[in-house]
């Protein structure tokens, strides 16, 4: 039996000064203990607003949120003892050293510097002796990760955690997240980088314009019902017309190679090419980026959302 670490019900918050513009609208969300949960959406979707509501930095206009079964407003202090947070835009006192900030944060938590801190410093190859103002963006993110992870909290809330990290450190970050999960910790990871979510999350929610569009397992999220098929024939087949075949779209012929997008079952396609000698057939699943765009595309048609043009994906 699973236990919800984060649970929100109808969480709503509007932008200041914009009565009709919701930063978050009726959010119902559940994050289970021990999972790595991706919170996906383009910039301005309401991801950071959700996090600030969970941390009790801002207050909802309606709805409520619970963490560890405790109300985020009434039991904020108790909750904050048990979480680690990395903001999307990390700012710290520029004239202090990394080491000083680590010591200060530990002291405010009422604990000595945890032993795990040194492990993190080594694995992230971070130099804590320098002043904050001397750190590059990547090093500041490393420090932010250390501050969030060092006390091994039950819940990690990470807002765009790999922003500014080089690929090697991103890899280390992913290992750290897996280790945290194996350690029984829960991770709530906000991101607009779909490949990041795809690589480490168990489940993900998609948010847009303050509304939750979907919450699914990563594999379920990928299950859009279409795939890319590339056929390589032995001989040219000028008479072969696949455009009318059920589920087949975007047919492109390049010599002996035929590329298409297939929705649904393979059977209609296989029947249509019956008699042709197929040298090779490649089937490629769509990337999460494509799924994301497809998903938003569907919502644009069905949900009547305002078009924002290209969704920011990487």
């Amino acid at each position: 039996m699973t236990t919800a670490v984060i649970q929100t019900q109808g969480l709503t918050r509007s932008y200041k000064g914009g009565k009709s513009k919701f930063a978050l609208q009726g959010l119902n969300l559940s994050v289970e203990k021990g999972e790595i949960f991706g919170y996906l959406g383009p910039n301005g979707a309401g991801k950071t607003t959700t996090i600030k509501l969970l941390l009790d930095l801002i207050r909802p206009e309606s709805g409520k949120a619970q963490i560890f079964g405790l109300d985020t407003r009434a039991s904020s202090l108790e909750i904050r003892r048990r979480i680690g947070y990395l903001p999307g835009d990390l700012n710290l006192w520029k004239n202090l050293s990394g080491q000083h900030v680590i010591r200060y944060f530990s002291s405010v938590r009422g604990t000595p510097i945890p032993a795990y801190t040194n492990t993190l410093i080594e694995r992230l190859e971070f130099d804590p002796s320098r002043k904050i103002r001397a750190y590059s963006t990547g090093n500041r993110r490393k420090l932010g990760l250390i501050l969030a992870l060092m006390h091994q909290p039950e819940l990690l809330i990470l807002d765009e955690p790999t922003n500014g990290l080089d690929p090697l450190v991103q890899q280390t970050f992913m290992y750290l997240m897996r280790e945290a999960q194996n350690n029984g910790q829960t991770v709530f990871l906000s991101s607009h980088l779909l490949n990041e979510v795809q690589a480490i999350c168990d489940r993900a929610a998609i948010l847009r314009d303050g509304k939750l569009l979907s919450t699914q397992g990563i594999h379920g999220l990928s299950d859009t019902g279409f795939k890319y098929v590339t056929l390589t024939l032995r001989e040219p087949q000028p008479a072969l017309n696949l455009s009318g075949v059920a589920g087949v779209q975007n047919v492109q012929v390049d010599g002996l190679q035929i590329s298409l997008r297939l929705s649904g079952d393979f059977d209609p396609l296989l029947r249509a090419i019956n008699g042709c000698y197929v040298v090779n057939m490649q089937v490629q699943e769509p990337t999460l980026e494509e799924i994301f765009l497809t998903y938003y595309g569907d919502k644009l048609e069905n949900g009547g959302f305002k078009s924002h043009g290209a969704v920011e994906v990487k």
């Binding site: 600030k52 930095l57 903001p87 405010v108």
Partner: protein
């Protein structure tokens, strides 16, 4: 948690407070040393006779020319009369450090993700800055005492010490008011504007009320914290306990409202 924040605030602020105290203290020390030149005091007093009383009040002076012609009177006019404005500036800067600067720099988001109670944060930092304000006054007083030792038997040192300590309650008013302004507004610029209006408004109200004793301004003057500072009165008559109590009460009220407000309002966004 409270001890840590208090110690960290003091650790980060003591050097600045020391420099402020030294800067103001050297200014005071120079005025004390100059007093040996009795001609200067006499000439200053004569000069003041030709100045309209409301201008004298503007600079915190008094129209009592006999008093102005004494070393104590000279220091009351040339130092204590206007120096509260300088101390108030330090107190305003300190008040912005309670929450506004960290919030404006985007640091408060991560800091308040720690197990910190917001009202306790405000209280702890206000207390730390009270100690730092006392340090500024203390260092200034130390410089003055060195001056008094160099020109013995000229000043009523006891009264001068009281006049120096009399600065502190007014500083606390400005400090807690600035903390309140920062608790009300999320924008630092708004907090600065409100604090500036408070200090300049209080100063203006005080000297206009003094200059026009038969008008409503004289009654409104009671709303200004400068009215309870009364440096000349302290040097002539000793510390006014009611004035000190009023200033301390105002400080406590401002600080309590600041804590209440900061506990409830949104951070950042």
């Amino acid at each position: 948690m409270i001890n840590t924040i208090f110690a960290e605030t003091f650790r980060r602020g003591w050097k600045t407070a020391l420099y402020w105290g030294l800067g103001i203290g050297i200014m005071a020390w120079l005025q004390i040393i100059i007093v040996q030149d009795t001609t200067l005091i006499t000439e200053t007093a004569h000069l003041m006779e030709s100045v309209p009383p409301f201008i004298l009040e503007m600079f915190g002076g008094t129209s009592d020319m006999q008093f102005l012609a004494t070393p104590d009177g000279y220091l009351a006019l040339q130092f204590f009369g206007f120096i509260l404005l300088v101390f108030a500036f330090y107190a305003a800067v300190a008040g912005l450090n309670v929450t506004a600067n960290d919030e404006d720099a985007g640091i408060m988001d991560i800091f308040l993700s720690l197990p910190v109670v917001r009202w306790q944060l405000v209280l702890t930092k206000v207390l730390a800055f009270i100690l730092l304000s006392a340090l500024v006054v203390g260092v200034t007083l130390a410089c003055m005492l060195i001056g008094f030792a160099m020109v013995p038997n000229i000043f009523d040192v006891g009264r001068m010490v009281l006049a120096s300590l009399n600065i502190l309650p007014s500083m606390l008013v400005v400090l807690s008011f600035t903390a309140l302004a920062a608790a009300i507004f999320r924008r630092k610029s708004s907090a600065i504007a409100l604090t500036a209006a408070f200090i300049i408004g209080s100063y203006t109200l005080d000297f206009l009320g003094n200059a026009a004793p038969d008008t409503i301004l004289a009654a409104l003057r009671k709303l200004s914290f400068f009215a309870y500072y009364d440096s000349t009165g302290v040097i002539q008559n000793g510390l006014s306990i009611p004035n000190v109590i009023i200033l301390l009460a105002a400080s406590v009220i401002f600080a309590i409202i600041a804590m209440w407000r900061y506990q409830r309002r949104d951070i950042g966004l």
